[in-house]
Every structure is written in C-alpha cells, then in structure tokens.
Symmetry: C2
C-alpha cells in the first residue's frame, strides 16, 4: 500500500475535531448490543411500538403514488400549517407558518441552529448531564460547548442558575436548555425559564430550547405538557426550538423534525437546509401531517404508558442496594447511579454481554454523568420487567466497574 494511504496517515489528513471527537456512548452501546443476540435494548430513546399505521399509511401511499420529487426546502406548506394548528392547540399561541421549518430529524434541527449561530471558537453553554450530540455537533463544527454540571444531592437534580449564567462569556452565542431533560428528567419551572429568558435578553444571546419531551410530563395536576419557553417568550424572540416527530408519535426511524425560529431567519435557514439535506422527503411529511392532526389519542396513550413504565422501573430499582436516582418528572429515562461504579462504559458492556440488558453509560452525557447509567423505560411492560430482573440478578453476583 502507498504509505500515504495507511490508516494513521489517512486519519492524520482529516480535521483534528473530526478525528478526536469521542464516539457517542449511546451509539457504541447500541452498535455492540446489535451484535449480541437476545439483549433487551434500553439504550436508545425510543419505545417498542412501531409507528401507528394511521401515520405510516399516508406516507406509504404518497410514496407509491409518486410524490418522489424535490420539494419545498422549508417543508410542505400543509405540514407547516399543521404545526401552526398544533401549537395553537397545545400552547395557545398563534404562530405564523413562517415560524416553522421542517428538518430531517430533531438532530438536523440542532445542527441547523449551530451552523446558524455559532462560528469557529464561539461558545454555547449547556447544562449537563446532557445528550452528547449537542457537544459533539459543536466540537465537530469548530465551536465550543461550555458544560455546566447540574447538582445531584439528596436524590434530586438541580440547576444552579448562577453557575449557568457565570459560564457566559463574550464568546457565548446561546444557552441551550433541554427541558424535560434527557437523561435526567429534570424539568425547568416557569420561574427558571423566565430567569433564563431575562438573562438572555439582557446579554443579547440566543435561547436554544430543546423541548422534545415536553409532552412526556408527569405533573400532579393533569398537565398535558411541561412548562415551556413558549409560555413566556415573545413571538419573534431570539429563541430557537428544535423539535421532532420521533418521540411523541413513535417515529424515531423517520428522521423528521422541525425548527421553530423568528421569521426573519427564513432565508438563512432555507440555505442551510439546502446545503445539508436539500429537504425532507415530501411523502414522509404526509405521514407527519397525519400524526399532528390525528395523533392526540395515540400520544395520550404513549404518555400514560410511559408513566406506568416509569412507576414500574422506579419500584424495581428502589429495592436494589446501592442504586440512587430521582423519580423523573419528565421525559422517559431513569438516570441512576450505582455505588462503586467508576467506569459506566465498561459496566454497560459487561451488562450487555453478561446480563443481556442494554443501558447507556452516564459518562457519555458529559460532566456529572460518570457513575450513572441511563435506561429508557418506554418499553413493553413485560420486556421491561424482564430487563430489570436480569439487571437485579446480575447485581446480586457481580459488581460494576
């Protein structure tokens, strides 16, 4: 082989940030787990229900009737109008169709935001533990995630707003807030959201809001969603929301999401979409319209099932020695520590191989995450019980590493 084409030389020829970025611990767990037969996978943020036929069929039919050409870069007008109606129903707000942009997944919405607001060396402040893809996207693009660890004390997660605000520098372009949070389930109160809004206004920086799990909220007063920046922000606020069809409507594999933004950004967002994905399949968007317009009963069932699964998982984990966690008020994860565990990635691997149960390692979620494992509990109850049983039996005879 020509020496320049040896693996180490090839790797030396890409950017340091692409070369040195760590692998996502979730993806690593999943890619390893896919090769081990019989594992019950709780590593990914998705349920066990496939997409309901009511949403899948309109997409399949549009595909078969030949809606297979290039389409609107900002998304089908019909889907953007359905997003307007959805937000009127759920948030009581009248947004404009030009506030919404269809993206190829929630991640692509975040990628679009980062490409739009954070240049080389600029910073976005992120409370952690957090989904590793925020920091990854920023680092690979040459920007810098500034991670502010939350506190876990007395079985409760809290975000110290003074610490968060102290992390903002002249290079900061945005505060990213994921509430309800993946992985810890922490959910900001209206007071906390208001404090962040006011700080961002004073400093002239963006709010990057990820409220993907807003509907998975287990309040005590029959709420159908968590507190939201949409409760307190102006129509054209410097607020960018990344969202997705994945979680609410069991459409993770579709890779369709949306971005909500001030209307003035329309042309810039359209250009970024054009050079990233050149749009999202029109035929898939037909299914997304059905999800928004007819998906309320399914979503209500999903959330009720998630609450039951959460209570089951909480009940089983509580009985185990050395396990500590907060009962999460939102999202669909349990983020639990195991006494004595210092290498969550190695423990995850052992659990996949030895116990045939798959979690995600806490270390992948950034500062404050090591020592914990993340479980997605939105699963078929029997599978979940089986997985928790396997974990309990493993803990009886093994120790974490």
């Amino acid at each position: 082989m020509i020496p320049a084409f040896r693996p180490e030389q090839v790797l030396a020829a890409i950017t340091p940030q692409a070369r040195d970025e760590p692998d996502s611990g979730i993806v690593k767990a999943a890619m390893h787990g896919f090769t081990v037969p019989g594992v019950i996978p709780l590593w990914s943020g998705e349920g066990t229900a496939p997409t309901p036929e009511a949403f899948a069929r309109p997409a399949a039919e549009a595909l078969l009737r030949g809606e297979t050409f290039y389409t609107w870069q900002r998304g089908l007008p019909e889907l953007r109008q359905a997003l307007v109606r959805y937000h009127a129903r759920v948030f009581g707000r009248s947004f404009d169709v030009e506030n919404f942009f269809v993206t190829s997944g929630g991640m692509q919405a975040i990628q679009t935001i980062v490409q739009m607001v954070a240049g080389d060396g600029e910073e976005i402040v992120i409370p952690t533990p957090a989904w590793p893809n925020y920091a990854g996207a920023l680092r690979i693009l040459g920007s810098r995630p500034v991670e502010v660890p939350m506190d876990f004390a007395n079985g409760r997660w809290t975000l110290d707003l003074d610490c968060l605000f102290d992390a903002v520098t002249p290079r900061t372009r945005a505060i990213a807030l994921n509430s309800p949070s993946n992985p810890v389930g922490w959910t900001a109160s209206l007071e906390e959201l208001t404090a962040i809004r006011d700080f961002c206004r004073r400093r002239g920086i963006w709010i990057l809001a990820d409220e993907v799990y807003a509907r998975f909220y287990y309040g005590g007063k029959g709420e159908t969603r968590a507190p939201s920046f949409l409760d307190i922000c102006e129509d054209e606020e410097r607020l960018l929301l990344a969202n997705t069809f994945s979680k609410n409507w069991a459409m993770t594999g579709w890779r369709v999401g949306w971005l909500q933004a001030p209307r003035a950004l329309g042309p810039a967002i359209e250009r970024i979409i054009q050079v990233n994905t050149s749009g999202t399949p029109a035929f898939l968007q037909r299914g997304c319209v059905a999800a928004l317009e007819e998906g309320d009963p399914f979503l209500a069932e999903q959330v009720a099932a998630a609450r039951r699964c959460r209570d089951l998982a909480v009940d089983r984990l509580r009985g185990l020695p050395g396990i500590s966690f907060e009962v999460p008020p939102g999202a669909f994860y349990l983020f639990f520590s195991i006494e004595g565990m210092t290498d969550s990635a190695a423990t995850v691997r052992r659990l996949i191989d030895e116990a045939k149960v798959g979690f995600a390692p806490g270390s992948t979620f950034g500062p404050g995450g090591e020592g914990f494992l993340r479980m997605c509990y939105l699963k078929d109850t029997r599978k979940l019980e089986e997985a928790l049983g396997r974990f309990a039996r493993w803990l009886e005879v093994h120790s974490p590493v």
Copy 2:
C-alpha cells in the same frame, strides 16, 4: 415589539456566513416557479418519471410493517453489501463493505466530507461553473471555496489543469471534481483524472469526487459509464466520493445517497452522521437495495431517454439565434449562453412569468456562469418540446436582460 427582536437585529445575531450567503439561484427559480401555474420546470436536476414501483414498494412495505426505529448509523448492512456488488459490477473493483456509508442524500455526503476535511479558513479548490451547493456548504461552515473557472471557447468547455493546480495553496485540503459536470456536462478523460490523482498524491491533499452522473454518459463506443477515479485509484486512496440514488433511479425526493471513503475513516464518518441526521430511515434503504439489485434495466432506459432528450434539445436550440453551447457528453443538462444576456437570474424570472418555462440562471454556478442558462432536459419528450417551443417564441419577441 422588543427592539432586539426586530428582523434586522435578529439577523445581526447570526453568523455573518449564514446571513450573507446568497440564495441558490436554482432554489430561487424553483420557489418562484412553484407559485406560477402552468410553468414547465426545467430548473431542477430531476426527470419527470416518479420512482418506479419496484423500488418504492419495498420501502412502503417496510414502513408499514414497522421498520420504524433508529438504525445503523453507517447504513443497513444489506444496503452496504448491495453497494459492494454494484461497484463490482460497474467498476470491476472489490471494495469492502466498510468503504461505504449511507447518507441522507448526496448533499449530505458532501456535507459530511466538508465537516471531515476542511476546518475554519481552509480551502477546497473547485472548477466552475459548478453546482452552487459546494461553495455554499463550504462558506456556511467557515471554510473557503477557491473557484477556478473553466474555459468556454469555440463551443467547447475545457479545464486548464495548470490553473487548477496553481490554485492549490498550503491551506488547500482537497480538489473537488464533478465529472460528468453539473451544469456543463464536461467529462474528464482518464488522462485528466490521472493527472489530478498524481498531483493530489504529491501534495498530500484529498480528492473529493462527485461522479453522481457517471452513468449518464453518451460516449461513442457503447460505454455504460464515464471514466472514473475508481478506474485509477488505490483501494484506500485519499479519495472521497459523494454519490446518490437520486439521479440513476429517479429517487430525488427520497434523500438517500452514499459516501465512499477509506475504511480508516469509519468511526469519524459515523460520528458526523450521528450529529447531523442520526442516520437514514431504514425502511427507505430497503427501496435502495431494490434499486441497486433490480434497477439496471430502468437505468438503461433512463440513460437512453436522456440521450434522446439531449439530441432533441440540441436540435431545437441550434436553430435559435444567439444561442451557444457544447453538446454535453455527460449528465443531463444543457448549459447555453444567450447573446446579450448579462443578468441570467432576471432573465430566468422573466422566462418563468412570461414564457412559462423555467430554467436555472448561470450566475448561480459561480465564476464563468453568468451569461448562461441551465436546462435539465431529462423530461417527457412532449413537455420538453413544448418548453423549447415556448422559449423559442419568447426569444422572437423579447430580449434577455
């Protein structure tokens, strides 16, 4: 409205490169054209045939049977294996499954490449006229396209390799070559490809190859594809090929493509995919397997139809005064100049409004493109004749601007 949320203030708060990037002239033409009833659209790079049912049905069935979960970040193993077989069949090479990565469209393959090889302020050299998305992706990401205009003289496009190589500086990370070329149809000879390969080897830079139109090649000896870097490069050469299912198999609206790369880059590419799209819908990939495995007859028909359309368009345009172009040996565009035209974007707009025929403006393809219009001729023959007739009648009474 709070002053900070006025449009000009909102725009001031995004990166200069996202704010100041010009709109794609193709997208602008299409977005305007979508609002004008009865226009015959020749602005986009797609035919009039929808995806054949033989490729659409496996995808629709996979969707309906619930293959709707997160999937392999590098693509379904079955599709990557089908790509190995396709390349064995068409290029006579035995690549490894680990050389192929499924992406959400050819553009996403290019985006992945740029994120991997070009950091802030680094350069990629690109012959123009070229698809504007190369330069756009680079500029938005903070890298720099260095555009090297080709020559159009005596009705023929040529690329001066000395000029190309002279544009390479210590900041250059790659030469991007699109052959057969969109928009001009210019197709590199094996000698030209070899010279570029040797130069890139000497300088230790990447070859970024876009051979998306390789199968749309109208050679005189019954060739089934254009000369390719795959004819002359080593297995693990510093060569990155962006490709797509869009053109060969009439799947533009699917947004599925692939990236071919040295195996050593696997983990880096997987990480970039994860933070951009988090993978491509598994159910769509089932249709792509069908396209690769059963799509040869359809592709042969498409190419034969494209050749007939090319000959028809050439015949009609040749009769018009002030029109000049090369008969393109590849791709499916005619790139023709009109005497006296200095504002191709304005002319395109007038042609849409007044003649109800839609081209793309040459100016959007970079240096050397102004004064030309691009027509995609891969259309239903009758529509194409009608469009060319409208254009001819318009030219009789109007002048371009």
